[in-house]
């Protein structure tokens, strides 16, 4: 497919029609509901179809429940031994492939560079793998004596009926000093990574959060939920928080440790970065322990400042608020200088963002700071609330494909519940602009006439790029090289192309520089050889 056709102005409706034209009728009908032309309405958001099953053969970007559970949520915890119960692949592919950086200190436990697997064989499929799992847990315990061992189910485990929870309970009781628990995150559950997030949230909350009662020291205690320290994002956020005097009790789960999870109930506020992956824990922390949550965003310098001010507003303490303002004042000059340098080269350029379940929204802030327009976005596995805002949640129907994902019911903890803010205090804060349990979703920030596409596939990605010719396309590794073959710079917003951090103030500057490099690289001018640009010789060239 070539990008060399002349620029024609397409209306959003024409683009959508073009995307659907080639599909068999049933597929076209289904995809039509997942492709939304934003109307930018005042009070309502248009409805999009999301979190539904993937169309077979369509070349989706999506992964599975195991990836969402082990790969995303539990993988980044350094001092838990994560044993994958299954054939070798699942363990191998989640081995160091997400860039969750970690700082265990010189002597700390760190199992991140290891992949642990029961490496199931055909005999385990036939006779069951529980015996092998039990032996594997024992071997891991004998070798490492970790605080915790987690077990992850893969596709065949559910089918053959291995009871991984019973084995875990048994081993936990046997060891006494090692918490063993399991995740039924078989790859076929749900329709995407999303189900795995939910399963991970439930089990971490059930088996780990609140298990240690030691009071944590520090002022202004928060949890940072849904921040995975990709490329050091969490390190930068922690640096800023520390500077402000804010104590981060637990990050779920970048650079995290067992004890952080165990004491997460000691925080006074939960700050939710990635809404999709961790909103379940945020809700449960509130119900069980009385910790309210707010949506935050550390992607973008101004977003970071806004987030810090929100935290200051929540605690309402003048010392903290002043310190936050001082930190912002100290950090912003470097950011402003970078923008002043770079923005003239990025102003007016266009970007498309198709990333997992949150970044497609968060990164719009950064592009805004560079004067770039986001012309099309979408998630792989966001739900309607991530697109349209949490107000749609009561009306969401759970379809047949996701019905078997457990909804964990929690209630107030008789000993440890205490409401951090009274209803009156919360109302007063809400009135002054700090909104609890609120997320407006991606659509609210998109302009009228832009295209929002859920579960974008290979065909649609190519077509979009061909028709709209953005200056930059953001997605993941599977999309990267086909987009670049079309001559469009492509930025990975999962792995950051091995750069980062992009969060916080320093991260924003890193990102500006990276985008400048991408959209202004000379590389894209070399695609045609001189003889291709001017192929026809009009006369014979004579050597002198």
């Amino acid at each position: 497919m070539a990008t060399k056709n002349k620029l024609v102005q397409w209306t959003p409706t024409e683009v959508k029609e073009e995307l659907l034209k080639k599909y068999p009728p049933k597929v076209a009908r289904k995809r039509a509901q997942s492709i939304l032309i934003n109307e930018a309405l005042e009070n309502t958001t248009p409805e999009i179809q999301a979190n539904v099953r993937t169309i077979p053969g369509i070349i989706t970007m999506r992964g599975c429940t195991y990836a969402g559970c082990k790969g995303v949520i539990m993988g980044p915890t350094r001092d838990i031994v994560n044993i994958v119960h299954g054939p070798i692949g699942c363990s191998f592919y989640a081995w160091l492939t997400r860039r969750n950086q970690t700082d265990p200190g010189p002597d700390g436990e760190n199992y991140m560079p290891y992949a642990f697997s029961t490496d199931m064989q055909d005999s385990d499929i036939i006779f069951g793998g529980e015996k092998k799992l039990r032996a594997a847990i024992q071997e891991a315990y004998d070798l490492f004596h970790p605080k915790g061992i987690c077990v992850f189910a893969t596709c065949p485990v559910g089918l053959i009926g291995d009871d991984i929870h019973a084995v875990s309970r048994e081993m936990k009781a046997k060891f006494g000093d090692c918490n063993v628990f399991a995740f039924s995150c078989e790859g076929y559950k749900g329709v995407s990574q999303s189900a795995g997030h939910h399963i991970a949230n439930n089990q971490v909350f059930r088996h780990l959060v609140g298990t240690e009662d030691k009071e944590r020291e520090g002022e202004y205690k928060i949890n940072l939920l849904g921040e995975y320290n990709i490329g050091g994002d969490g390190f930068e956020i922690d640096r800023v928080l520390q500077k402000c005097g804010i104590t981060n009790i637990a990050t779920f789960s970048g650079n995290s440790s067992y004890n952080q999870f165990a004491t997460a109930h000691k925080a006074d506020l939960s700050c939710v970065m990635c809404h999709r992956s961790i909103n379940y824990v945020a809700d449960m922390l509130e119900t069980k322990y009385g910790i309210p949550w707010i949506k935050v965003n550390f992607i973008g310098a101004h977003a970071t400042a806004k987030t810090l001010r929100k935290i200051g507003q929540y605690f309402g303490d003048k010392t903290l608020i002043d310190r936050i303002e001082a930190v912002i004042a100290e950090e912003m000059p470097a950011v402003d200088a970078a923008i002043a340098d770079i923005r003239p080269r990025t102003e007016g350029k266009t970007a498309m963002l198709f990333v997992g379940g949150s970044r497609a929204h968060h990164y719009m802030e950064l592009f805004g700071e560079l004067g770039m327009k986001t012309v099309s976005t979408g998630y792989e596995f966001g739900h309607r609330d991530d697109y349209e805002g949490r107000q749609v949640i009561p009306g969401l129907k759970v379809d047949a494909d996701s019905r078997n994902i457990e909804e964990l019911e929690v209630e107030a903890d008789p000993n440890n519940y205490h409401a951090r803010k009274s209803e009156d205090e919360k109302q007063a804060l809400t009135a002054s602009g700090l909104e609890f349990k609120k997320y407006d979703g991606l659509i609210a920030d998109m302009e009228k006439g832009t295209l929002i596409i859920d579960d974008l596939n290979q065909y649609e990605a190519e077509k979009l790029v061909e028709i709209i010719k953005p200056d930059l396309f953001c997605a993941g590794i599977k999309e990267k090289y086909s987009i670049q073959k079309l001559g469009i710079p492509m930025k990975q917003l999962h792995s950051y192309d091995y750069g980062g951090p992009y969060a916080g103030f320093k991260g924003a500057v890193n990102f500006y520089k990276e985008i400048d490099r991408l959209v202004n690289s000379k590389v894209w001018s070399y695609m045609k050889a001189p003889w291709q640009e001017n192929p026809e010789l009009s006369a014979t060239y004579v050597w002198e």
Partner: protein, 457 residues
């Protein structure tokens, strides 16, 4: 230390694999299928496998890897994936228009027992496979063997397309095994120099090392065509490079189409290349041109020029059986000392072959099939080495133990070059040697005291 929890003392493990030296079948099948022209690999399972396999191959090649999936849901996992695969076949031919779909399976569809042949036949009856287009398949259960097994199964699946007309066409089938596109190109170059018409399958050259031109073609120029695969049944013989990767396909052609076959090692290093060239010459009845003899001489020349630097140097190596066998032979042939040798793939034959190749060495060689990199690391802690050879995952051991590290094998996620420069043949031998020397001499330059720091080495 990155791998700070790896103890020196080796304890027996019967159930827990740590840091595997293998991955699972389907990725091998996907890689092999990409070596057919106009082919879209299809993963019949839940979509996570397909995403992982595409990602791993993409990171290795820095190239787009297209593959589709049946995207099983829980319902399909219980009641069977037939309707998913039928829908997928219809959607793929309508939207992406490949010439051929190569279906492989996963532990999911294998455990539930989906009958791919029956579903394929049904698709045909329902008219979902356009005229002149094809669907082939291979069963690739992840809980048997490794990625190498999956590769082999898909290559064997390709030979199901082959037909014998009873009339030989004078061509030689060469099954290169799991090597890089650059290696496949090199094998074709050598055959062309020898004037031997070959059918190379799979052939990922031109597919996974493509140019940047402002155009994207899901199905690039390269790859063995369906027509060539069909005609492979009329070849005068088959050379299968690698017992694990290629022998099953070759034997299937022998059984099915009476094409005689010979199983050789993958031509890494001097001796394996010698045997390959010699076999090709014999089977095709041609002479080896001076140019190839000259290339060989250049490799021998470089060996003699630099022998002092690698003589008796200790090496640890891990990877896939066919590749490691040839490499160990190469190392032994240049008087290096392979000490610790691991493959994640199972097979008593591997250990036997390595023992034969290292039988005359004056020390005990540690060798294990179905071993892992945790064990390899423990061995290294007990008996340090001068060079580590293997895929990217070895960088953690190399850094912790401060060992020069040659990236070779699959996957290489943190360097480029493997897609462009071969390591097979005499030319490939020169490149391997250049890389090994570079590593050893960089280390010498780093470590030598200033007083003995040398300009010329």
């Amino acid at each position: 230390m990155l791998l700070r929890h790896t103890p020196k003392e080796v304890t027996k493990r019967s159930a827990l694999v740590i840091n595997p030296a293998k991955t699972c079948q389907p990725i091998g099948a996907m890689y092999a299928a990409l070596g057919i022209h106009g082919c879209l690999p299809h993963s019949h399972g839940s979509q996570g496998c397909c995403a992982y396999h595409r990602s791993a191959l993409t990171k290795h090649y820095k190239e787009p890897i297209s593959a589709a999936t049946s995207s099983f849901t829980e319902g399909a996992s219980v009641f069977g994936g037939q309707s998913n695969l039928l829908q997928a076949i219809e959607n793929i031919f309508t939207v992406y228009e490949p010439e051929i779909i190569a279906v492989h399976t996963t532990c999911l569809s294998e455990t539930i027992g989906d009958d791919i042949k029956q579903i394929r036949d049904k698709a045909e009856k329902q008219g979902l496979i356009p005229k002149g287009k094809h669907v082939i398949y291979a069963n690739t259960p992840s809980y048997v063997g490794s990625h190498v097994t999956g590769f082999s199964n898909m290559v064997k699946g390709m030979t199901e397309l082959s037909v014998s007309t009873g009339k030989k066409n004078g061509k030689v089938n060469v099954i290169p095994g799991w090597v890089e596109p650059s290696d496949m190109e090199e094998i074709k170059r050598l055959a062309a120099l020898m004037n031997v018409p070959i059918t190379l399958f799979p052939d990922t050259s031109g597919v996974l090392n493509g140019p940047l031109s402002g155009e994207y073609h899901m199905f690039p120029e390269g790859g063995v065509t369906v027509k060539e695969l069909t005609e492979a049944g009329d070849a005068i013989g088959t050379l299968a490079l690698g017992e694990w990767c290629s022998a099953d396909a070759a034997r299937n052609l022998d059984t099915k189409c009476k094409v005689p076959c010979k199983v050789l090692d993958i031509p890494f290093g001097l001796k394996a290349t010698d045997r390959f060239i010699d076999a090709l010459r014999t089977i095709a009845g041609t002479n080896v041109p001076d140019e190839i003899t000259r290339e060989r001489g250049q490799l021998v020349d470089m060996l003699s020029d630099t022998h002092q630097y690698y003589y008796k140097k200790k090496v640890a190596i891990y990877g896939d059986p066919d590749q490691v066998i040839s490499m160990v032979e190469f190392l032994v042939s240049i008087d290096m000392c392979p000490m610790h040798i691991v493959t994640g793939t199972s097979g008593a034959k591997f250990e036997k072959r390595i023992k034969e190749l290292t039988a005359h060495l004056p020390y005990e060689v540690n060798v294990k099939a179905w071993g892992d990199m945790f064990l390899l690391h423990q061995w290294i802690k007990n008996e340090p080495v001068d060079l580590l050879i293997g895929n990217t995952y070895g960088k953690y051991i190399a850094r912790d133990e401060d060992i020069p590290f040659l990236r070779w094998g699959f996957p290489i996620l943190d360097r480029v070059g493997h897609q462009y420069f071969p390591t097979v043949g005499y030319k490939g031998g020169l490149r391997l040697l250049e890389k090994i020397l570079g590593l050893l001499l960089d280390r010498k330059d780093r470590d030598d005291p200033e007083t003995v720091f040398e300009l010329t080495l």
